[in-house]
Structure formats: structure tokens, C-alpha cells
């Protein structure tokens, strides 16, 4: 038998051990291929709006994926080699030379590399068209990206991953060749020393965790922004430390609780978990961190996407608004807008006319537009409470809603002077931060509300050049008809300085396009993390399969039933799968809280929605893997049963 045959035999013999490794590598190859194909697409190198950002985003994402893939490959292959030490040791015991051993290992690695590259590239090629369709829709490209994957794309993917495989192979060769034959043969059955609990490590872990959480939970947005990277690192380290110490503490506490522990289920499950702590805790910590990253990324993407709707309404509260400056006849333009709306069946929208007076708040040094209190009362009907206005020398200053940044007004009221043309009035001003009254435009960002009597007095005296005529159409701003009307109106008034049109729809579209891209990149990178997370858990489970079979068959000899064995195996699996999920969820909830600080609203539910979605995926993966694991365990048991116990 040639060494090549031996290598391929290994691959055929226990394919379940290779599945996770090959599968997740292939998946990573596929994602990398898609991203590279997109970022190197000839159509995107030129001028579409957002295309440059998109390409940059994709390139950054591809780098992240490549780095991550390398670390992942390194980890998986080292745990894989540990699994195989005994087999390789036996081969050299049987007289296989070092050269042949190297050939076998390289052959095996070559098979894995070729299979995962071929599978990843193949599936990637199949999905490429779909991917381009999706990205074209998201970027609202005028025409769909044509199918294109040049030699450069293929070459880069193959070179990057081929290089990684080569590096990883060298690393695993070194690991095997450094050991003597005896060490190799014994590697498989080295008993695991019982891990020792360390109180100071636990304290350190808790301290780091609390510190990280406090930093992330800070009410100061600047603190939150600067904390993103350090807090992630601190909390990751804390998770690694705590996962070990807390597992040891918790399991030994359970083992000490005799009445609970000395029952069939807990007895077997807890002792087995305690026995495997040393192997498990790193995987549990890594999975928890991955889950936290995934949930936070998807939760943030959800949040940004969802906020773009409410943001559009907050920044552009009026569905359609025409602003005309400087005393010309406003009627023709209003009629033109009306005609466009009527054309799309939108002529039933309530219409309102207002003349705002352009002025300046001299104390605060702000350009403002004066509007009457009656108008203020009309717009402040839905939800927000309108402030009362007492005497004629009182006024309300409506701030543009400070969303992501900007400072809140702290004074309850102040004395100020308003200047409109030649007129000047002394007023007591109260702030209102409950949101805008009209869409922003020149002079219209800050609105000063005065009593109707004062307003009318001013309106009579003001020069025509100071008057801003605002026509507003309110009501439903969504829908296909509005989309079309909105773009027609924009075209109609394009380039006009004294006539400005604005619609909520247009703002919404802009935001969705930008956010959609963020969401898209975020979700795609998360997918790679999901694959890694699943693969970690899967290989953790199947690395020990031989040992688990031995364990299960011993239990069976003592008279443990198949059902009890299955229960034991599954409950142990459930802990390994869902403990990191819960820890990851807690981390990501803190992260979402921090995002809430940045966006000035509660966004926890977006994170939890992402978690629920992920939980479904996770549950499906758990039951699938559980089935496979149990079947694989049973295969071994049946083999054992056939040969008898003695």
C-alpha cells in the first residue's frame, strides 16, 4: 500500500471527524471568494454612488475573514493532530520511516485542502450570481452587476488559502516530528490531571468582567466609542478565565451536593463534564465570545436598519414639503407639486400652508424661523406634549432632535433677543427638544414659536425677502406611489436655490441604502463566525469520540441502558452547546446597552430578536449534531457488542 493510499484511507475511515473541518473551511473559502469577486468586479471600480465605500467595506471584510480563517485553521489542525498522534505513532512503530510519515501527513492535508477549496469555490461559483443580485439591489445600482469572476479572483482565493494550508501543514508536521514514537503512541491515552481551582484567578476574571461591563455601560457616548476594542479584549480575557474557574467551582460544588449528585443522570453527566473541563473550557470560552460577537453584530445591524426608518421620520417629519424663499409668487410651484402628487393618486394628502419669518436669535447666535403657536400646537398633537406659552413676551425654541450626538439644552429658560429685519424683540425663551416641526432647510433648522398675536404683528411688518413660504403635505409617506412621486419632485426642483423640495421618502431611501450595506457586510462576516462557532463545537465533540465510545461501552457493561446513555450524552452536549450561548447573550446584551447609549434609545430588543433568530439556528444545529454524535457513538458500541464484552 502506498503512503498516498494510507492517507486516503484515513480520510475515508472516519469521515465524521473531517466533516466539520472540511465543511467550515469550505464555507470560509466560499465567503472569501464571494467578497473578493465583488471587490474586484470591474463595474464597481468606477463611479456608482456608494460603490467605493462598498468595495472598501468588502476588502476590509475579506481581510478580517482571512485572518480569522488562518487562526481557525491553525486551531482545528492542532486539535486534529492531537487526535491522530496515536495512529501516526503506531505507523512509525510498524516501521514507517519519517519520510513516509511526512508523505502521509502531507497527503492527508493535501486531500483536505483540495476538497475544501474545490467545495468552497464550487458552491461560491453557484451562489455568485445570487450574491451579485442581492448586492445590486442593496446598493440600488441602476443595472444589475453582470456575472464576473476573473482569473485574479480565483488566483487570489487559491493563493491565500493554499498558503494558509501550507503554513498549517508545516506547523502540524513539526508537532508530530518533535515527539518520540512512545510519546505519540501514548498521547491518545494520557490521563487528564484534575484541574485546580484558583480563587485569585476567579477574582481577577470577575474584576475584568465587571470593569469591562462598567466601561461599556458608561452613560458617556465618547467613553463607549473609545471602549469598543479594549472592552472586547478585556471581556474576552475575562470569559476565558471565568469559564475555567467558574466551571471548576460550579462542578465541584455540584459534586459535593450529595443528594443531587448521587442520582443516575447528574452522577454521570457532571463527573464527565468535570473530567473534561481542561479540554472544554477553551472551546466554551471561544464559542461564548463568538456568539457574543455574532449577536452584537447582527443586533447592531438590525438596530441601524430599524432606526433608519424612525430617523427618516424624525429628521424629515413632513411627507412632502416645498419651501420657497423671498416673496415671489408661490402659487405656480405649489400647483406643480400638486399635479405630480395627483398623477400618482396622492392628491388626498392633507395640505397646509405656512409663512415662517426668517430671523436671528442674537443671544444664542442662531438663525431661526419664527412660527405661530397655533401651528406648533397642530404639529405637537401626536404623542409629544406641547409646551404652554404664557404671555406675549414668551417664546419656545424648537431644537432639531439631537439623535446620535449633539448636546442637550440644559437651561430651563433664558432671556434673549430676536431680530427680524429691522425689528427686535426681547423674549423669554424655553427650549423644546421633542422633535422637529418641519423638514430642515436653510433657516428652518431652529424654529422659534411665538404667540399668534406677536407673529401676526411681525408678519405684517416684515419685508417680503424675509418671508419663507412653506407648503406641507402630510399623511402616509410610504408606498410605491410616493417613491415615484418623490423622485419626480426631486427632478422637478433640482438646482433651484429659492425653491426646495424635501420628502421623508427620499431621506429614508438614502439611509436604507447606506445602512443596508452595513447590515449586509455585518451579516456576511457574522456568517463566517457562525460557521467557525459550529465547527468548534462539532470538533470538540468528535475529537473525543473514541474515548466516549470506550466510556459508553463500559457503562453498558455495568448495565446502563441505551436510553440512559443517550440521555447522558445529550445532556452533556446540551451544556457544551448552550452554556456559551447564554454567556454570549449576556455579553451582547451589555454591548446592545452600550449601543443604546450611542443611539439615545433602548435597542435591547433588537439584540434579543437577533438572539432568538440565532437560537433557532443553534437549536437546529444542536439536534442535527446530537443525532450524528449519538449514531457515531452507537456504531462503536455495536462494534464492541459484536465482539463481546470479554
Amino acid at each position: 500500500m502506498s503512503t498516498w493510499r494510507i492517507a486516503s484511507r484515513f480520510f475515508q475511515h472516519d469521515w465524521r471527524r473531517y466533516v466539520a473541518f472540511v465543511g467550515s473551511t469550505a464555507f470560509t473559502v466560499m465567503i472569501y471568494f464571494l467578497y473578493t469577486a465583488l471587490s474586484m468586479h470591474p463595474d464597481l471600480q468606477g463611479g456608482y454612488p456608494y460603490a467605493r465605500q462598498a468595495v472598501q467595506g468588502m476588502k476590509a471584510a475579506a481581510v478580517v475573514i482571512a485572518i480569522f480563517a488562518f487562526l481557525f485553521l491553525l486551531y482545528s489542525s492542532s486539535s486534529f493532530v492531537r487526535l491522530r498522534m496515536k495512529e501516526l505513532g503506531l505507523l512509525s512503530l510498524l516501521g514507517v520511516s519519517k519520510g513516509q510519515l511526512i508523505q502521509i501527513m502531507l497527503g492527508e492535508n493535501l486531500i483536505v485542502a483540495v476538497v475544501s477549496l474545490a467545495a468552497g469555490l464550487g458552491v461560491g461559483l453557484l451562489l455568485l450570481k445570487l450574491f451579485f443580485m442581492g448586492i445590486s439591489a442593496l446598493l440600488r445600482l441602476p443595472r444589475e452587476l453582470p456575472f464576473s469572476a476573473g482569473v485574479g479572483v480565483w488566483l487570489r482565493t487559491i493563493l491565500v488559502f493554499g498558503g494558509m494550508f501550507a503554513a498549517v501543514s508545516v506547523a502540524s508536521l513539526r508537532a508530530v516530528l518533535r515527539r518520540s514514537v512512545v510519546e505519540l503512541v501514548r498521547a491518545g491515552r494520557k490521563p487528564k490531571a484534575a484541574p485546580r481551582f484558583s480563587a485569585w484567578r476567579l477574582a481577577l476574571g470577575l474584576l475584568l468582567l465587571i470593569g469591562g461591563y462598567l466601561w461599556a455601560g458608561s452613560p458617556n457616548p465618547t467613553m463607549v466609542v473609545t471602549g469598543v476594542v479594549p472592552v472586547t479584549l478585556i471581556v474576552s480575557l475575562a470569559t476565558l478565565i471565568l469559564m475555567r474557574e467558574a466551571s471548576i467551582a460550579c462542578l465541584s460544588w455540584l459534586q459535593g451536593w450529595g443528594r443531587y449528585y448521587y442520582r443516575p443522570g447528574p452522577f454521570l453527566t457532571i463527573s464527565q463534564l468535570a473530567y473534561k473541563i481542561q479540554d472544554n473550557y477553551r472551546v466554551l470560552a471561544a464559542t461564548a465570545i463568538l456568539v457574543a460577537v455574532i449577536l452584537t453584530a447582527v443586533g447592531t445591524a438590525f438596530t441601524l436598519y430599524a432606526l433608519s426608518t424612525s430617523d427618516a421620520v424624525n429628521t424629515y417629519p413632513i411627507a412632502v414639503q416645498l419651501v420657497q424663499y423671498g416673496g415671489t409668487d408661490e402659487r405656480p410651484s405649489i400647483a406643480a407639486v400638486h399635479a405630480v402628487l395627483a398623477k400618482h393618486g396622492l392628491d388626498r394628502m392633507p395640505q397646509r400652508e405656512l409663512v415662517a419669518l426668517q430671523g436671528r436669535l442674537t443671544g444664542r447666535k442662531l438663525d431661526i424661523a419664527v412660527v405661530p403657536y397655533s401651528f406648533y400646537l397642530e404639529t405637537r398633537t401626536s404623542g409629544q406634549e406641547a409646551l404652554p406659552l404664557g404671555d406675549d413676551d414668551e417664546a419656545i425654541l424648537v431644537f432639531p432632535n439631537p439623535l446620535f450626538h449633539g448636546q442637550r439644552e440644559e437651561a430651563e429658560s433664558w432671556n434673549d433677543r430676536v431680530q427680524i429685519g429691522e425689528e427686535e424683540l426681547a423674549l423669554t425663551v424655553k427650549p423644546d427638544e421633542a422633535g422637529r416641526l418641519v423638514n430642515p432647510a436653510r433657516h428652518l433648522l431652529y424654529n422659534l414659536v411665538v404667540s399668534d398675536a406677536v407673529y401676526e404683528g411681525l408678519a405684517d411688518r416684515v419685508a417680503p425677502g424675509q418671508r419663507i413660504h412653506i407648503s406641507m403635505w402630510t399623511g402616509n409617506w410610504r408606498g410605491r406611489a410616493m417613491q415615484q412621486a418623490s423622485s419626480e419632485l426631486s427632478a422637478l426642483f433640482a438646482g433651484q436655490e429659492k425653491k426646495l423640495i424635501s420628502t421623508t421618502m427620499r431621506q429614508y431611501q438614502t439611509q436604507v441604502t447606506q445602512m443596508g450595506l452595513v447590515v449586509f457586510i455585518g451579516v456576511f462576516v457574522s456568517l463566517v463566525f457562525v460557521a467557525a462557532c459550529f465547527s468548534l463545537l462539532y470538533s470538540r465533540l468528535f475529537t473525543d469520540i473514541e474515548e466516549d465510545r470506550r466510556y459508553a461501552s463500559r457503562l453498558q457493561q455495568v448495565g446502563v441502558t441505551r436510553r440512559e446513555l443517550r440521555g447522558q450524552a445529550l445532556s452533556q452536549m446540551a451544556v457544551i452547546f448552550f452554556l456559551p450561548f447564554v454567556v454570549g447573550l449576556v455579553h451582547s446584551t451589555v454591548a446592545m446597552y452600550a449601543l443604546g447609549t450611542l443611539t439615545r434609545r433602548t435597542v435591547l430588543h433588537y439584540g434579543w430578536a437577533a438572539a432568538l433568530l440565532f437560537l433557532f439556528l443553534f437549536g437546529a444545529f444542536f439536534s442535527g449534531t446530537g443525532q450524528l454524535y449519538w449514531r457515531s457513538l452507537q456504531d462503536g458500541l455495536q462494534r464492541e457488542a459484536r465482539s463481546g464484552v470479554f
Binding site: P191, K192, A194, G258, R259, Y262, R263, P264, F267, S271, Q272, A274, Y275, K276, Y551, R554, L555, Q556, Q557, V558, G559, V560, T561, R562, R563, E564, A641, G644, V645, F646
Partner: protein
Amino acid sequence: MTILKASGLTKVYGSSRRAETRALDGFSFEVEKGRFVGIMGPSGSGKTTLLNVLATIDVPTSGTVWVDGLDTSRLKGEELAFFRRKRLGFVFQDYNLLDSLSIEENIALPLVLDRRPLSAIKRRVEEVAAWLGIEELLNRFPYEVSGGQQQRAAIARAIVHEPALVFADEPTGNLDSRSARAVMDAFTLINARAGATILMVTHDPFAASFCQTVFFIRDGRLYTEIHRGDGRQAFFQQILDVLSQMGGAYDEHVADRV
């Protein structure tokens, strides 16, 4: 009182007529309660098959096994597992202790599976460990103690739930002579003190000499049985005589093992 009875046990391996092997060929015997019984025979004589069939792990082609008056072929699926768990104890050549459990927990395992109360478990484990002289080792793990100590722990596990029968398969096969002696003393002790019925398969005439009765098996049939008189030394000589009568096959096998 008969605790174990086998009648006309036949086990045929292989499906086609030409490739068929008769591992057991009408084997019958009886074991009285409280006896310490050995089974010896050359390799290929069918003793492993016999032990598997008696221990309900393998199903005979024909014939019946009664344990404590119960026909074991009537037990199915989980019943069989429960039967094995409650009524039988096992001692293996490679100890088969669970690495994840301490010695104490290993011994307690059958009682835990039987859902006995905690206080009863603790009391019984301490009692049995004291008999076998391993009470100092209870908190250690299997990989922290010697082979002989592991085997004594395995014996403790096999008898802790007071089974009707203890099956032992080459219990001294992996041990040096000093440890083997300690293990055989342990078997003798639990046989005397706990009244446990023990059925041991062995190659080792020294180990067999601790038994009260030794059955010899050849070609799937009972060859002969001998009973111990007064001295163990004399019985050992008797065993060697029978083995040399059985001849060739056995010597070959002994040579293999050395």
C-alpha cells in the same frame, strides 16, 4: 441451591454451512449458590463465548440459561440491562473503571444507578472498601493507583450491590504476581464474607487454584470438572495435571502468552 444453570448451550457463528463455527456445543453445567468457580480451557475452546452467553451479553443459538431460577432468554431490551445491573457483577481483565469517577464513585456506580439513598450508598461503599483494604484510596482517581488496586476497586464495584452472580474474566491477566495474589485473596474474601457466587474465566493455574471448583472446557463441550479438597497447593497440582491431559492446544497457548 442452584444459582446458575446452563443446559444444552450451543452457539454457532457464521451463516453459510461451510464457514460455520461451533463455539459452544451442547454445554451444560450448574453452579451452587456461594461457590467460587473457575473455568479453564485452551484458546478457541469457547470459554469467552460461554462467559458472554452466561452474562446475557450474547444470545445462544440454542439452549437455556437460568439465573436464580429465571430464564434469561425471556428478558428483552431494557429489562436485560436492568437485570444485568441489579443481578450481575463484572470484573474485567483491564479493570474497566471509569476515568472520570473517583474510586469511591466507581464503586458506588451500581448503587447510584439503582437509585439507593445517599446514606445507604456511603455506608455500603465504605463497608466493601474496608473488606478489600482500599478505604485509603477512595478519593483518588483510577489513573492515580496501581493495577492491583484498580482491580480490587473493580471487585468492590462488582459486589457492592449484592448481585446473584459475579463474572470475572482473566482478572489477573494484567497483573504482576504480587498484585495477582492480592486480587485472588480479595475474591476469596468476598466469597467467604459476602457469600458472593463467583464465576471466573482464567488461563492462570495459580489463579484457578483459589477456586472451589474448576470446570474445563474444550471444543465447546465440558471436558471435566474438579473440586478442591483441603490444600490450595494440592489443588494447583491437580489443575496442572488436567491441563497436561488436555494437551497440545493449551501448551501452545501458554507459549503464546509468554
